[in-house]
């Protein structure tokens, strides 16, 4: 994208003729862009325009423009509601847990795989670990539901330890652990690909040198391997932090229920429930907009840090 940035600085003073000349020269290119840009205008920027209903009392009958303005009423209602802190707490708690447990998991897997000499064994483990990535979310949640049900396999084991059979997804204390553990299962293999690639580009001579200096496996890991893949780790970490408010709410909607809202409900699942199921259109749009704005600033700061640390930027 470097070229794109330097381009456009050399805009000459007589803008119009240049523009026309450009259009004529690249007319087919601009024709190609028309449907593409229309898509973005209608389905990406259309909703951004529509988000103004967050500041109105929207009813479908009056339409976006016809509905009366109400200022920041809906935002105030949200910040003042008892749900605000609960949603924020759950959103941050679930993201932090997936970060703390889910982020190192693929790195460890990649490090272990990297030490395997038998190519067939490595390939088999990789193929198995990618598998959950290819199972649709609905099916993954279906499996979780069956396994955690009162007749499911997890209960079969808990009974051995004197526990009573119960539906684990009805227990608010267990929702987040179930979410996080299954998340690791879904993603560990797929996310290890990037680290494996980074590992494969580590110069083998560094290991030779370390061996000659008498470094054992552990020493090699600390002094050669980790420093070499650190840039990749840092970039992935920053990206992860940048999307913290962006939890996979589809999985939450599939797994939660009235009993577990206390620990399961996050901002986006609340938006869905309020807006689509309870028809509080303006209010839920305000909640969603709040989430989008926070998200945007998180990504922006993540990108700024990434630029400083690593010279790698998203744009």
């Amino acid at each position: 994208m470097k070229q794109a940035i330097s381009f456009g600085q050399a805009v000459p003073r007589q803008k119009k003729p240049r523009l026309l000349r450009e259009l004529a020269k690249n007319k087919y290119i601009y024709i190609m862009l028309v449907p593409f840009l229309l898509f973005y205008i209608i389905f990406m920027y259309g909703p951004m325009y529509g988000a103004m209903i967050a500041f109105k009392d929207f009813t479908p009958k009056l339409g976006i423009l016809g509905s009366p303005w109400v200022g920041i009423k809906h935002f105030e209602a949200f910040f003042g509601s008892i749900y605000f802190w609960r949603l924020l707490r759950n959103t941050i708690s679930i993201s932090l847990q997936t970060l703390v447990f889910g982020f190192p998991a693929p790195i460890i897997l990649a490090l272990l795989l990297n030490e395997v000499r038998q190519a067939w064994f490595k390939k088999t483990v990789q193929t198995i670990s990618y598998m959950p990535h290819f199972i649709s979310l609905v099916v993954v949640c279906g499996i979780i539901k069956i396994f955690t049900g009162s007749e499911g396999i997890i209960n079969d084991f808990m009974v051995q330890f004197g526990q009573e059979r119960r539906d684990l997804l009805l227990d608010p204390a267990l929702f987040q652990p179930i979410y996080v553990i299954s998340d690791i299962w879904q993603k560990i293999g797929w996310e290890s690909i990037i680290y494996l690639a980074a590992l494969s580009s580590v110069d083998q001579e560094l290991y030779e040198a370390a061996r000659i200096d008498g470094a054992g496996k552990w020493r090699q890991l600390l002094s050669v391997t980790l420093p070499c893949i650190l840039p990749t780790i840092v970039v992935m970490l920053i990206l992860r932090v940048g999307s913290m408010m962006n939890i996979g709410f589809e999985k939450i909607i599939l797994l939660y229920n009235g009993n577990t809202y206390e620990t399961a409900d996050v901002i986006s699942s609340y938006v869905y429930r309020k807006g689509i199921q309870e028809f509080s259109y303006s209010f839920s749009t305000a909640v969603g907009l709040f989430n989008s704005v926070i998200n945007f600033f998180l990504v922006l700061s993540a990108n700024t840090i990434s630029k400083k640390v690593n010279d790698t930027s998203l744009w």
Partner: protein, 292 residues
């Protein structure tokens, strides 16, 4: 050849044991589902604990699943969305990526910013819902095709791929009088086949997995894609449509087996194909990662 020390040998053995255990843990849930799906109704009802072989044997659940109209219709609708969705997504993404990979295109920087901005900011679920409704797509299968037809991440991968193609090739074609459409069709597309394969796969997986938009936009059950049908069966516990025909006691016991069989019917086709496509997927991850 360097001689390995005893310590290293021990390390290697432990490493392989750990990975084997991890692999088995990752694989177990799927194995359990497969074994339970070919169990008999009462066998599964009596069974507790881990399952390595089927409890009893019966394929009746598969027959019932495959005879359920909703499942078949769901497959049909998903196939419809896949075919038209892929055609539209690929056309749009290729045109956009090609146009915006032209160096020195006037306005390119602004347009790219305009597009990439949407990756990080969106109007939200409710305005999106009304946008699609207002365009008149609600309650049609096109609601699952058009509003999500370009994925910005896929567009970036594709554009990166196009940019890697040397300019000299198209320049010579241009001298011969070819216009941009001809250049794209005759020169760029044949050279970009690997990256196109990656993107086709990414879109296909996305379409196959999506259910949320279908839930938002479809009222007519006849139009439900497979994943939404699965949601009713697996998440909302609704197997009535399948057991209705049976009526006897044995069919009643099949309830649990039916869920397992449904999972298999919806998943096995993918898991059978995927090891062959694995390398393409992985390649996409790499290209995407380079660009961030």
């Amino acid at each position: 050849m360097i001689k390995r020390s005893v310590g290293e040998r021990i390390f290697e053995i432990i490493n392989i044991i750990i990975l084997t255990l991890l692999g088995l843990i990752a694989l177990y849930p799927l194995w359990h589902v497969l074994m339970a799906s070919i169990s008999s109704g009462d066998g599964l009802a009596r069974h507790t604990g881990a399952m390595f072989v089927p409890a009893g044997f019966s394929l009746k659940a598969y027959r019932l699943v495959l005879e359920t109209p909703m499942v078949l219709k769901g497959y049909g609708n998903t196939l419809y969305i896949l075919v038209f969705g892929l055609a539209l997504s690929m056309t749009m993404t290729i045109l956009g990526a090609f146009a915006l990979s032209r160096k020195g295109l006037y306005g390119r920087k602004v347009i790219l910013l305009f597009i990439i901005f949407t990756m990080y900011f969106s109007g939200g679920m409710i305005p999106f819902y009304f946008t699609v409704k207002n365009v008149g797509l609600a309650d049609t299968r096109w609601a699952l095709i058009v509003p999500t037809c370009v994925n910005t991440f896929n567009f970036i991968i594709m554009r990166t791929g196009f940019e890697a193609i040397p300019v000299s090739l198209e320049e010579s074609a241009k001298i011969d009088g070819a216009n941009d459409f001809v250049v794209l069709w005759k020169i760029i597309l044949p050279l970009a086949k690997p990256i196109i394969a990656v993107i086709v796969l990414y879109y296909a997986v996305g379409i196959w997995n999506s259910w949320f938009n279908a839930m938002l936009f479809l009222r007519n059950r006849e139009l439900y894609p497979l994943q939404l049908v699965l949601r009713e069966i697996l998440i909302q516990n609704d197997t009535a449509a399948m057991t209705m025909g049976g009526g006897d006691a044995d069919t009643g016991m099949l309830n649990e087996v039916l869920k397992y069989a449904t999972i298999c019917v919806a998943t096995i086709p993918i898991l059978v194909i995927y090891p062959f496509l694995q390398k393409y997927f992985a390649k996409g991850v790499m290209v995407g990662a380079v660009k961030g």
